[in-house]
Structures are given as structure tokens and as C-alpha cells.
């Protein structure tokens, strides 16, 4: 049965698009059929992170308005089989999306894919509420930083009240994904620890993505980090998170950066 998962956060710049692309590619590499859907109308970026920016013809709004069929708007990934992108519109505004129209597109996607990953825009406005509206599950992307945790708390409240599931008296399954985590700074007490964040948000942990330059390297070249360098620390963390999404029990570890010989010798952290 298809699962609709929203990747959300409230706050901008915490890694929603990076995480959508990385988790989508990781699930597809495991043989699941996956559609990643960009809900950030007017400021689309999932196409860029996926390296499909020059292949966009039709978008989510075209499909919602019946201008294009879903098959015409879906872009197939060139690297991984079973991975598809439904881009957002860059020219229209978010009011072009309607609740009913989004519901129809999501229902259609459910019949074609195992996973539908909705990349939410930042904020708590219409775009963000529509991205979460039809979700069965939610990944709340959180940085170990006060403003991000506060916004995540707000989004959790919305997931519990403004989704179709919540209105039916059911629950959206929620997961926290901590990104840009620096274990060394956390151990020094300079950064909120995993336990702190989980205690405050009271939502189970999906994974811990370490702060890493591999993330920027991957987005520079338009490849999800899980495809760009599968052995890198963030990629391994995303692979573990994807396996947890499919129900596997995996011990929670923060993958460490690979250190070069000189760095190891000097006790420096790898770049």
C-alpha cells in the first residue's frame, strides 16, 4: 500500500529538500518505487538538487489544474530506476494550488508508487499545510538549534490538527530527523544534544545526519547525497533512516566522517 510522507520543518534552510532527495533516492535504490513531489510553488528547488532542472516541462500546478496529465509532468530519474520527480511551478503562486486538486493528484500518485515524498515549503502558510494535508507519515527535519526546534514543535501541532488523518481522529506517524548535527560540539555542550531535542519534541527519532561538506558537494552537482557518494557519512545516515522508514530496526549511530591520514595523525576533524 502506498505511503504518503511529508518532509517538513517550519523553519527554512534546515535541509528539507536535501532530505527529500536523499531519502527518495535511498528508498528507490532499495527497490521501492518513489515519487518526490515539490510543493514549494514559486521557489522550487527539488529539481535542482535532483539534477533535473533542465528537464521540467509540466509541473504540479499544471496537473492540479488539468492542463497536463500526471504522466506528462513526472520526470524519471536518469540514475535510479523507480525514482520520479513531480516539480513545482516556478512562475505561479501558491494560491494556484487547491485542497481538492492536491487531493486528486495525491490519490493518483498513490496508485502508481510505493512512496510519495512531499517536499514542504518553509513556513506555516497554505503551501506547507497543503504539503502535509494528505500525509500518512511526516519527517520533521530539525537542526540542533533553538529556532529550528521551536518551529518543529509548531509544525508537530499542525500535523496533529490540520491533516486529513487528524480530522478523521487518526494520527499522522511522526519522525524527527536531526540534520547538521556535530557530535563534537554536542559533547562539549555547545550544541543541543539528541536527547534534549527528543525530550522537548516527544517524537521518535528517524535518524541523525551529521554536519558534512558532502551535502553541499552533492547539491553542487545536482545529485542526491545518497547517490553522489554512498559511503559518505551523511549518505550512510540517510540510508539508515530510509531503512527505518520501511520498518527495519537499526541501531542509532552517528556515522563518522572518514579521516585522511594526516588529519588522523594531527587529530583534526576531516574536511
Amino acid at each position: 500500500m502506498a505511503k504518503v510522507l511529508v518532509v517538513t520543518s517550519g523553519k527554512g534552510g534546515v535541509g528539507k529538500t536535501t532530505s527529500t532527495a536523499a531519502l527518495g533516492a535511498a528508498l528507490a535504490q532499495r527497490g521501492e518505487s518513489v515519487a518526490v513531489v515539490d510543493f514549494d510553488v514559486g521557489l522550487r528547488n527539488l529539481d535542482l538538487v535532483m539534477g533535473a532542472e533542465r528537464r521540467v516541462v509540466f509541473d504540479l500546478i499544471n496537473v492540479v489544474q488539468g492542463v497536463a496529465k500526471l504522466q506528462q509532468a513526472l520526470i524519471r530519474d536518469k540514475r535510479v530506476e523507480n525514482l520520479w520527480l513531480l516539480p513545482a511551478s516556478q512562475t505561479r503562486d501558491k494560491d494556484a494550488l487547491t485542497d481538492e486538486g492536491v487531493g486528486r493528484v495525491i490519490a493518483d500518485l498513490r496508485t502508481r508508487f510505493d512512496w510519495v515524498l512531499c517536499d514542504s515549503p518553509a513556513g506555516i502558510e497554505r503551501g506547507a499545510t497543503l504539503a502535509m494535508r494528505y500525509a500518512d507519515e511526516a519527517v520533521i527535519v530539525t537542526n540542533p538549534e533553538v529556532s529550528s526546534v521551536r518551529d518543529s514543535d509548531r509544525i508537530i501541532g499542525m500535523l496533529d490538527s490540520k491533516t486529513v488523518k487528524a480530522e478523521k481522529g487518526e494520527r499522522v506517524t511522526k519522525h524527527v530527523l536531526i540534520t547538521r548535527y556535530d557530535p563534537v560540539r554536542a559533547a562539549k555542550g555547545e550544541m543541543l544534544g539528541i536527547e534534549d531535542i527528543l525530550e522537548i519534541l516527544a517524537v521518535p527519532l528517524l535518524g541523525i545526519i551529521p554536519e558534512s561538506q558532502d551535502v553541499l558537494r552533492a547539491s553542487n552537482v545536482g545529485t542526491p547525497v545518497t547517490l553522489n557518494d554512498a559511503a559518505s557519512a551523511p549518505a550512510r545516515a540517510y540510508f539508515d533512516a530510509a531503512r527505518r522508514l520501511t520498518g527495519e530496526q537499526i541501531a542509532m549511530v552517528v556515522p563518522a566522517e572518514r579521516k585522511g591520514f594526516m588529519n588522523r595523525l594531527l587529530g583534526r576533524r576531516a574536511a
Binding site: 521551536r150 514543535d153 501541532g157 555542550g189 555547545e190 550544541m191 543541543l192 544534544g193 534534549d196 522537548i200
Partner: protein
């Protein structure tokens, strides 16, 4: 071991506990405000309904107050009951039994 040593040398920079405490206090307030805007109204109505089943009350003389403190919050319920309500209750029971 290495973590303990780090802690020892860096207590000056340990700002995370401050972040944690600020968040806990802030979110306790925000959750109350945003999550259940009518909590006090709902409590007042339901308490009034339960007590009214046994005692005749003047709805105007029931006050419910919720105070959120740093560590403990208090719920204050103040109900003014008319004198002689005990006889009213007994009469009510007798009437129900008979």
C-alpha cells in the same frame, strides 16, 4: 573518557543547557496558547455541568483560573455554593428514590 575530558575543559562554553531550558519554558507556554485555546472555557463548562448534576449553581459564580508557572501550573476552581445546598441534595435523593 574523551567526552568527559572535553566536558571538563569546556564548561565555560556549555551553552546547550541554557538553550534547552529556554526552549522548555517557551514551548510550555506556546503549546498552551496555540494547542488548546479554549482549555479554560472547556474546563469551566464541564466542571459546571458535573457539579450542577448534584447542586444548583449560579453559573455566574463559578470561576476557573489556570496559572502556568515555570515548573508547576495550578488550576484554581472557585465555586460559590448557595447556603442550605445539603438539604437540597437530600430532597433531590428522596425525590429520586420515591
Amino acid at each position: 573518557m574523551s567526552i568527559n575530558l572535553l566536558r571538563l575543559f569546556s564548561s565555560r562554553n556549555a551553552t546547550a543547557p541554557v538553550a534547552r531550558e529556554r526552549l522548555q519554558i517557551l514551548l510550555a507556554h506556546e503549546r498552551g496558547l496555540l494547542g488548546q485555546p479554549d482549555l479554560v472555557v472547556t474546563l469551566r463548562e464541564e466542571i459546571l455541568a458535573v457539579v450542577s448534576r448534584h447542586i444548583q449553581l449560579d453559573p455566574e459564580k463559578v470561576t476557573v483560573k489556570l496559572d502556568r508557572g515555570k515548573t508547576v501550573s495550578t488550576l484554581e476552581v472557585d465555586i460559590e455554593v448557595p447556603n442550605g445546598f445539603e438539604t437540597m441534595v437530600r430532597d433531590g435523593r428522596r425525590a429520586a428514590a420515591g
